[in-house]
């Protein structure tokens, strides 16, 4: 479960490059809920996920994950509770290490080092099974360097790693955006399978309307560092991609209403 209370983040405050990326975000996500995050470029989606993951400290507000106030925790400490997958298939893994080593690293994250780097049977067997389940032919390549794999294969593996320990919160930031359509489809199918099977509390950023309507149980739409729409329950279920596009158009139209248009409307509207 995730509880976000009035968080704010301003980059480069007091300079010409000042960006108020989060302007008071309140969000409570129930345990097991799968939330899609939508919004135009620069609306603050990644900043929201980064704030939760602890890439930086927020300027104001509070963040609680699984009942713990993590607002002041550094990123590595939050990593015990949070699994992440980014857009770039080349981040989040160590390219020169093998698939197996990457898994060992990921699954020991936040655990006492004492367990060491050993690729124990206890890990290897279920790992091999799971990777065989991907049907990507990777189960016999566990010793290959992860850098030698395709983007789709890497994202699938990164997702498996991020969700392996059933984190309290899973953060996915456009994790299929850099993939070809076929690979994106495979990774999305895997995402849905993992999240629903383990009932993982998830925040997933995407620009794909079909993904947004077909996945998850809730959609939040961000704009200007705030949550503009929050759609859940039956309203989320009946959404069609064109309804979302309509909402995006409405946001754009809202931006177009400048002071000169406001003058014109005052004169012409009743």
């Amino acid at each position: 479960m995730l509880e976000i209370q009035s968080i704010r983040k301003t980059f480069n405050p007091g300079t010409v490059n000042e960006v108020r990326a989060l302007q008071g975000v309140d969000l409570v996500i129930e345990e097991g809920s799968f939330v899609i995050v939508l919004g135009m470029n620069g609306s603050g989606k990644s900043t929201l996920l980064n704030a939760v993951a602890g890439s930086f400290f927020v300027d104001a507000g509070q963040i609680r994950v699984a009942g713990k106030n993590v607002t002041k925790w550094p990123e590595h400490r939050r990593a015990k509770l949070i699994g992440r997958v980014f857009q770039n298939p080349f981040s989040g893994t160590a390219p020169s290490m093998s698939i197996a080593e990457n898994f060992a690293l990921a699954t020991h994250r936040g655990r006492p080092r004492g367990l060491g780097w050993a690729l124990s049977r206890g890990l290897m067997d279920p790992l091999r099974d799971r990777i065989a389940g991907l049907k990507m032919g990777l189960e016999n390549r566990l010793d290959n360097a992860i850098g030698s794999l395709s983007g789709g294969q890497r994202q699938a593996l990164t997702l498996l790693m991020a969700s392996w320990l059933k984190p309290d919160l899973l953060l996915l930031d456009e994790h299929t955006a850099a993939l070809d359509p076929k690979s994106a489809e495979q990774v999305i199918a895997l995402t849905n399978e993992v999240i629903t099977r383990d009932k993982l509390t998830t925040l997933m950023v995407t620009h794909s309307m079909p993904q947004a309507v077909s996945l998850g149980d809730r959609i939040i739409m961000m704009h200007g560092g705030k949550i503009l729409h929050d759609l859940q329950g039956p309203e989320k279920k009946r959404l069609r991609p064109e309804d979302l596009i309509e909402r995006f158009n409405a946001i754009r139209a809202r931006e177009q209403l400048d002071e000169s248009a406001a003058d014109m409307l005052r004169k012409n509207y009743i």
Binding site: Q256, L257, S260, A262, M264, L265, R266, Y269, I270
Partner: protein
């Protein structure tokens, strides 16, 4: 396959050469649709050089036939190759073949007269009849003051109303948005978070019911029908020019208009919140206005079909509090409901069935208050149309002070708009329908 269009006076001839099979049927179908869209309701096909037609091709012909049937146009095949002729006969579609010597063409127009404005031509039909009464309701300053108490209204087949209102019985004020009601239909843009316009179409005795926070309520008939078509050179005609022509055709100082139009684009705005909400907000100030009005800086709903309800008047009308400049010396107030494109049947058409037909596929894109965005280069301009039908009722101000507070006046024998409460009433009538013809 080769497709050639030959434009004749009243109809369009499309000549097809080659094989009309699955690989070409969609292209041909698009060509047909584009022709109907551009206003061709009488289409003749020449198929003498079509040496093969498959079921896909026959299906395409059938779709065109049905499309034209729906708008009372017509469709026929004037020449056919032996293969096409036998295929049509075997498929039971021989009625498509026009017997030689008989050409399909438009039925002769029974218009009383024709007219012209700079960007359009008109055919005008008159139906002498009783007048139409119009009442102003609510406070035009609603956006500053908020919505006051409203009455429940019923909209019958001869009702005419538009303004800020809602459908439904209770808690209307939660949903107040752009509203219009004509010919037994009513449609509005709810402001309670629902994006879709809601509507009621008269079905037997089931009539639209709702409330109007501010607007005009009328009851009666439209004695003039003007069918217009933008000229080939200008391609589109603007709302202010149509409104001016309506005034000229009627000879009156102010008219009420119901219109069904094929659009080249609408310029308009719509309330986003009910004026009954957040009364303390300075609603029309920037930037709060963004939360109150939805407006896009460009023409929307291009190539749609729209239903318009509005009034237009020269300077000095008693309806002035509800009117805004729409052109030089011209004041008006129009609402529009935008529908998916469907061609409007040509010639003299009846109001109620034509309006009802718009709602047939259960989709209304939006209801807008039309604007004249006159900000020069940056402005979106006004709404533009390709062709359509304008029903016009002159507003004859018979009394020096046309407004009374008599409730009886607002209630007609059709029992439309029969609510309790106050309404200021103007009489809309035609003194002499013949004299309305210039």
């Amino acid at each position: 396959m080769e497709i050639t269009q030959i434009k004749s006076d009243q109809s369009l001839i499309i000549r097809l050469v080659g094989r009309l099979d699955a690989s070409w049927s969609e292209t041909v179908r698009n060509e047909f649709s584009a022709a109907v869209r551009s206003g061709e309701h009488h289409i003749t096909l020449e198929m003498a050089e079509v040496d093969y037609i498959s079921s896909a091709g026959l299906g395409t012909l059938l779709i065109l036939y049905k499309e034209l049937l729906a708008i009372k146009g017509d469709f026929g095949i004037s020449t056919a190759s032996p293969f096409v002729e036998s295929a049509l006969n075997l498929a039971g579609l021989s009625q498509f073949l026009i017997p030689t010597g008989e050409a399909t063409g438009a039925t002769k127009s029974d218009s009383n007269r024709s007219a012209r404005s700079p960007q359009a031509t008109y055919e005008v039909f008159t139906t002498p009849g009783p007048g139409l009464r119009l009442a102003m309701t609510g406070d035009p300053d609603i956006l500053h003051k908020g919505a006051g108490p409203t009455r429940n209204l019923t909209f019958g087949p001869t009702s005419f109303a538009f303004g800020i209102g809602a459908l439904g019985e209770d808690e209307c004020e939660e949903r107040f948005g752009e509203f219009l009601a004509v010919a037994g239909t009513a449609v509005f843009q709810p402001t309670d978070g629902a994006n879709r316009p809601d509507f009621v179409v008269r079905t037997g005795d089931f009539l639209p019911r709702g409330c109007l926070a501010v607007g005009l309520i009328g009851e009666g008939e439209f004695p003039l029908l003007a069918r217009f078509e933008a000229t080939a050179e200008s391609r589109t005609v603007g709302l202010s020019e149509l409104a001016t022509t309506a005034l000229e055709l009627s000879g009156a100082e102010s008219v009420a208009i119901t219109a069904i139009v094929e659009t080249a684009g609408l310029v308009g705005t719509a309330l986003r919140q009910s004026p009954a909400r957040n009364p303390k907000d300075a609603r029309l100030e920037f930037p709060q206005i963004r939360d109150w009005l939805a407006f896009s800086n460009e023409r929307v709903f291009r190539d749609a079909t729209a239903l318009l309800a509005g009034v237009v008047a020269r300077e000095g009308s008693s309806l002035q509090p509800l009117l805004r400049p729409i052109g030089p010396g011209l004041f008006g107030h129009f609402h529009a409901a935008a529908f998916p494109y469907r061609p409007v049947q040509k010639g003299r058409i009846a109001l109620e069935p034509s309006v009802t037909a718009l709602f047939e596929n259960n989709t209304v894109h939006a209801v807008l208050h039309l604007l004249n965005d006159d900000r020069g280069f940056t402005g979106a301009g006004e709404s533009e149309f390709l062709r359509g039908a304008l029903w016009i009722a002159p507003i004859e101000e018979s009394e020096p002070s046309p407004f009374t507070t008599s409730e009886a006046d607002a209630t007609s024998s059709h029992s439309a708009c029969n609510g309790s409460g106050e309404a200021r009433t103007a009489r809309l009538s035609i003194p002499n329908p013949k004299s309305a013809i210039v």
